[in-house]
């Protein structure tokens, strides 16, 4: 990424004209219109259409290059007619923007080449993300170029113009407005104040508007508990960086949770150990299904979700009785009398000693403790955890309600929508509008959805692609991708982030807000023409203080440049908990929801990759191995080894899973560490639309329930498993689970490290070969296994940066996945509750690389700066190098995976990296294109490359900053420092291949009392 500030300012700018707030010249507008590539100017003068033209231009140039093989025809070169001043062909620009998902908004930096967004990284100006972002944000770039995207409005399945669409819609809305008839508008949670303003404007002219801002994954448990305990339904900001001891109850805050990147960064900031004196936070996890968080636990207890509330209350009692921590005023200890630690220990068959240690640990931590309950838990569990936080004083310290996210609307639960639909069914609706949501897919009661809107005169869908809901709507309106859109997001009172287009609309689409504004206008509201103007106007009114010395335009420019606006935050203050809530919760928790006659408890959870299913059509995410199971392209049901033995089932058996009177067939995966008596199943699969998503995995949504049913949470249900008699091979990236006693991942406890340090005998054998000379640089990498949580962000970033192919389930099954960066996962210890380690594995760029000696055609050789270089165009494809690679990080194009791709898919390719054809070997290059770019720029500026200036895609994406890249020749560089650390070791160094990647041994921090997770 560019660092020199002059460039910096320029690069986020979409045009200098805009930078100075100048209106575009008349001929510019004419020119754009005349390009034919521009379509109707959406936001006149913002230069978007020009950039879109460039996007296509870049592609056509690429095609021309491809075609230019004969002497006769070398294709053409198409220069700009008018070159936007900030664009230099061949030099990337970066634009700050924001990616929203549910109630989270991620500040991102979009890398744009000749008008094409080609890569997404975290916005380093953003205080929360500090240059990191969520892997789903990185991957959602692919959706911009998804061939399945809607390209124009559809009326009854037939392509139509916007005029026709509006012509059909507006009268209906007029009628509705006149009759004040109910209009149902369903959107996702709204965290954008300006979007909310648009909705308000619409409501003003459409009084019957009933807005449901629903997030299917929003659990009623946490909301109800929050309301009951503190009288307000808000999700406080959890400060993992302030926590010494963290207790996670069925919470995957490091994995599937929307705030994962922030959580990871803050959590790891307290896990990073520089020297022997340093301390670490300690993570206790009580969960049923093994989650990313569970794999990072210092102590993990497999516990039925139905029991976790009781455990929490028992801990509260123990804290009070054994550690003399006061109960909240007015709460009598009798309320907790039902929860003896002994009884609980028996119920969840956990060693009493361990629970004691946990209680002691929490007591010792006091306000620096943090108890987190997962969204899937029933209300009482959330109340219990709140109680613990209040008792410990964590409330107001690690639990920061002041910085809580207060969405402008929502998030309503699926149940709330169901209620609204029932209402609509009864009372009838004039129009049903679905904007960016897919209830037809995730609403448990699909029949209700259909019947409820069946009689609505207008059924309108606004979205990116023709999903299940669009299928049910005669009027389908295509929306901009977020990379084509304007917007602002308020995730907390002190933080406003801006969204700006990085490319002009590829198709004849409109921004959702614009569509609504159009209707509002048609219904007589007085609103600005475009959403950009609307946004600016609102900011001028609401955000910009007239008192400020800077003129608005430069204020606005600065905000756009940074993509984020900080505002003074209220200090965190403790909230008092309502006793009544605790009492009811306690009585509820006293009796565990039994599973009558069913035997198993089903636990539904979002997938780390496809989330609630909205990303199911994204090949990158489908092929990203699940961090825990390494399963790609599907969602097997996960069962504990004990239960599997009991039911006589094994990996790959197809089972019939019955719950809530519904049943489905799903392949089974025996999951070490799964709590006995539970079965986990990921949501978000089994879509019936989308060329990628269709038929991948099984749809678990029908098994979702309501908050009010027996299990107490829609995510939980009593379930029965029976064998379906057939087998199905899941596409698993990693077949073997054990490390076979090889010290590939070295780990030890903090205690032992503090006492004795880390003694490792050097295994490097003597060699006859002379040591290599590296005149200028020697690139190397250091990976801290203590910091790495195994989220998989690096894998996606690498895939996006290096044009890595998506090969599909069949090829993955045959062991042909193409990821240059993979995350190995090993289980260790008893299968009932194993220790888990993650290890990012990429080309180790060995100095004495075994692959180099055996290539017959010199296609892979060593570079003077210590890189193991791979010349694809020289490769013949003998695959000898891959056989001889002890790390098996080389990937072979067994078939034509990528090279045959055409527009729009090919537009996502990074023009700085060769697209590999079939029959060619490929592997990690340490992002040599980034190295070269920085080196050339440094050369041009007549200076040396600064340490940390070159950042490979994986390192840039890693929310934990576990990956550090740099020059090993420079003794002062960060990577040299880490490589010299006493925890540093090289995998398989006994082979004498001299890898350039140093791994830092994994440290765990188990409590004295409990069994440590020692490796």
């Amino acid at each position: 990424m560019m660092r020199s500030d002059g460039r910096r300012r320029l690069r986020y700018w979409r045009s200098l004209a805009e930078y100075h707030g100048l209106p575009p010249t008349e001929e510019e507008r004419v020119a754009e219109a005349a390009h034919g590539a521009a379509g109707p100017p959406e936001f006149p003068g913002d230069g978007v259409s020009r950039r879109r033209f460039l996007g296509l231009l870049g592609a056509s140039a690429a095609l021309a290059a491809g075609a230019s093989c004969s002497r006769a025809e070398r294709g053409t070169i198409v220069p700009y007619t008018k070159r936007p001043p900030e664009v230099v062909p061949g030099v990337a620009n970066h634009y700050a923007s924001t990616f929203q998902e549910g109630t989270s908004a991620f500040g991102v930096l979009v890398k744009v080449r000749e008008g094409r967004p080609i890569h997404i990284e975290g916005n380093d100006e953003h205080p929360e993300f500090a240059g990191k972002t969520h892997l789903r944000a990185i991957a959602d770039l692919l959706r911009l170029y998804d061939p399945d995207r809607l390209r124009r409005p559809l009326l009854y399945g037939k392509p139509a113009t916007w005029a026709e669409a509006d012509g059909r819609i507006v009268p209906l809305l007029r009628a509705a407005a006149a009759s004040r008839g109910p209009v149902l508008l369903v959107t996702g949670a709204v965290v954008s104040p300006t979007r909310m303003a648009v909705l308000e404007d619409l409501r003003r002219v459409l009084p019957g508007l009933r807005h449901v801002a629903v997030e299917p994954l929003a659990g009623p448990g946490s909301r109800d508990a929050a309301v009951a305990c503190f009288g307000e339904a808000l999700t406080p900001r959890l400060r993992f960086d302030r926590a010494d001891v963290i207790l996670a109850l069925e919470s995957d805050f490091l994995g599937s949770d929307g705030q994962a990147p922030i959580a990871i960064r803050e959590f790891v900031s307290r896990r990073r150990v520089e020297g022997r004196g340093d301390s670490m936070s300690r993570l206790w996890v009580l969960e049923a299904g093994m989650s990313v968080t569970g794999t990072n636990a210092d102590h993990r207890l497999p516990v039925r979700p139905s029991a976790s509330a009781a455990v929490a209350f028992a801990l509260a009692r123990a804290l009070h009785e054994e550690h003399g921590i006061a109960l909240p005023a007015g709460l009598s200890k009798e309320v907790l009398s039902a929860f003896g630690l002994d009884a609980i220990a028996g119920r969840v068959n956990a060693p009493r000693a361990l629970l004691d240690a946990l209680a002691a640990d929490l007591a010792k931590a006091g306000r620096a403790a943090l108890v987190v309950a997962g969204p899937s838990l029933p209300a009482e569990a959330h109340v219990a955890s709140s109680l613990l936080n209040v008792m410990l004083g964590a409330e107001g310290h690690t639990v920061d309600a002041a910085a809580a996210c207060r969405p402008a609307a929502g998030p309503a639960t699926a149940e709330d929508l169901a209620a609204a639909l029932r209402e609509a069914k009864a009372g009838g609706v004039a129009a049903a509008i679905f904007w960016g949501v897919n209830p037809a897919y995730w609403l448990p009661d699909a029949a209700l959805f259909k019947s409820a809107i069946a009689r609505a005169p207008a059924r309108i869908f606004i979205g990116l692609d023709r999903d299940e809901t669009a299928e049910d709507c005669p009027i389908v309106l295509p929306e901009h991708h977020w990379l084509e859109s304007w917007g602002d997001y308020e995730t907390s009172e002190d933080l406003l982030s801006l969204e700006q287009p990085a490319i002009g609309p590829l198709y004849d689409t409109r921004q959702g807000e614009e569509i609504l504004l159009g209707w509002a206008k048609a219904l007589g509201a007085v609103v600005p023409a475009g959403y950009r103007e609307y946004l600016k106007a609102r900011w001028r009114r609401e955000v910009y203080s007239a008192a400020s010395p800077v003129p608005f335009e430069s204020f606005w420019s600065a905000a756009l440049h940074d993509g984020v606006l900080r505002r003074p935050a209220a200090p965190a203050s403790p909230r008092a908990i309502r006793i009544a809530a605790v009492e009811t919760a306690a009585s509820a928790a006293a009796v565990e929801h039994a599973a009558p006659g069913m035997g198993l408890t089903l636990l539904l959870h979002p997938a780390v990759t496809v989330y609630d299913g909205r990303y199911a059509n994204n090949g990158w995410l489908q092929e990203l191995p699940d961090p825990v199971t390494t399963v790609t392209w599907g969602n097997p049901a996960r069962l504990s080894p004990a239960d599997a033995r009991r039911l006589g089932l094994e990996d790959g058996d197809v089972v019939r899973l019955e719950a809530r009177g519904r049943s489905l067939e799903v392949p089974l995966l025996v999951q070490p560490g799964q709590a006995e008596g539970t079965v986990s199943l990921a949501l978000g699969y089994g879509r019936s639309t989308g060329s990628v998503a269709t038929g991948v995995g099984v749809d678990a949504w029908p098994l979702m329930g309501t908050g009010s049913d027996a299990a107490g949470s829609p995510f939980l249900a009593a379930a029965r498993l029976t064998s379906a008699g057939t087998r199905a091979e899941t596409a698993t990236a990693q077949m073997h689970r054990s490390m076979e006693g090889r010290d590939i991942v070295r780990s030890l406890t903090l205690a032992r490290y503090a006492k004795a340090g880390f003694e490792q005998e050097k295994r490097e054998p003597a060699t006859l070969f002379p040591a290599q000379e590296f005149p200028e640089h020697k690139w190397g990498m250091a990976i801290d296994l203590t910091a790495c949580v195994g989220c998989g962000g690096c894998v996606v970033a690498c895939q996006s940066e290096n044009n890595v192919a998506v090969v599909g389930p069949e090829q993955v099954r045959r062991g042909r996945a193409m990821h240059w960066m993979r995350i190995d996962r090993y289980f260790d210890g008893s299968p009932d509750n194993p220790r888990v380690v993650h290890q990012p594995m990429l080309c180790q760029q060995c100095d004495s690389a075994p692959c180099e000696t055996v290539c017959p055609v010199n296609a892979t050789t060593h570079s003077p700066d210590g890189l193991n270089q791979m010349a694809y165009n020289r490769c013949v494809g003998t695959r000898y190098c891959a056989n001889n690679c002890p790390y098996k990080v080389r990937r072979f194009n067994f078939l034509e995976y990528t090279a045959a791709k055409t527009e729009p898919e090919s537009l996502v390719f990074n023009p700085e990296v060769t697209v590999r054809p079939r029959g060619v070997m490929e592997k990690c290059t340490f992002c040599v294109q980034r190295i070269d770019d920085v080196r050339q720029r440094a050369k041009g500026e007549g200076r040396a490359v600064r340490d940390g200036e070159i950042v490979p895609a994986c390192a840039a994406a890693c929310p934990a900053t576990a990956i550090v890249f740099g020059d090993l020749k420079d003794p002062t560089s960060e990577v040299s420092r880490l490589a010299a650390s006493d925890r540093g070791y090289r995998v398989l160094e006994e082979l004498g291949v001299k890898p350039s990647v140093t791994y830092l041994a994994r440290l765990t921090n188990p409590a004295k009392g409990g069994d440590g997770h020692e490796g």
Binding site: E27, A31, A34, S68, G90, Q869, D932, Q936
Partner: protein, 187 residues
């Protein structure tokens, strides 16, 4: 001598030799190195480097401004031409066409003369910054009325110069060799 015997002793060897010679000759004549050179397609606008770069001595980087900032030297935007041609020679048919393109905003499609395979990542920056004259690879452009290709631009050309760049470098340059490892051009 037995007829077959003659065949074996004379016809066979002679025939074989002739065949071999033909193959070699064809191969030599048809080698891309020779074919690539001298390619001079007709351009949409009869732009003369001989006039602009030669007579008028406009520096190369005035138009090909990317050469020292980007991997690609770049073809100037029509805008750049108009900087002068708003006022100069506005009546000539070519310039009228140019003006027309500019006003309409239509893209102007030049015929590509110099190409490299897309797995070659040639970077203009280091070469220009090292003081290597554009003519070294592109030929005496300032004398060309119609640009034609003077170098095949195949790997041999690159390596030849990288191994002994003295001829190309300005006198007094400290550079002794160019990089020869794969990553220098291929990724």
């Amino acid at each position: 001598m037995h007829p077959y015997d003659r065949f074996v002793r004379i016809v066979l060897p002679v025939g074989a030799t002739c065949l071999l010679l033909t193959v070699t000759a064809v191969g030599w004549i048809a080698q891309p190195d020779r074919l690539a050179r001298g390619y001079a397609p007709e351009q949409p606008i009869p732009y003369s480097h001989a006039l602009h770069a030669g007579t008028l001595k406009i520096p190369c980087l005035y138009c090909h401004a990317g050469a020292d900032r980007s991997r690609h030297a770049g073809i100037p935007a029509v805008e750049t031409c108009m900087n002068c041609h708003r006022v100069t020679k506005t009546d000539s048919p070519a310039i009228r066409k140019l003006t027309d393109v500019y006003d309409s905003g239509r893209p102007l499609e030049w015929a590509r003369v110099h190409t490299l395979p897309d797995y070659v990542y040639f970077d203009h920056r280091p070469h220009v910054n090292a003081g290597i004259a554009c003519q070294t690879c592109h030929g005496e452009v300032q004398t060309m009325t119609v640009v034609s290709r003077r170098m095949s631009m195949r790997m041999g050309n690159c390596l030849g110069c990288h191994r002994d760049p003295r001829a190309a470098l300005p006198s007094g340059s400290k550079i002794l060799r160019g990089p020869e490892h794969c990553n220098a051009c291929h990724r």
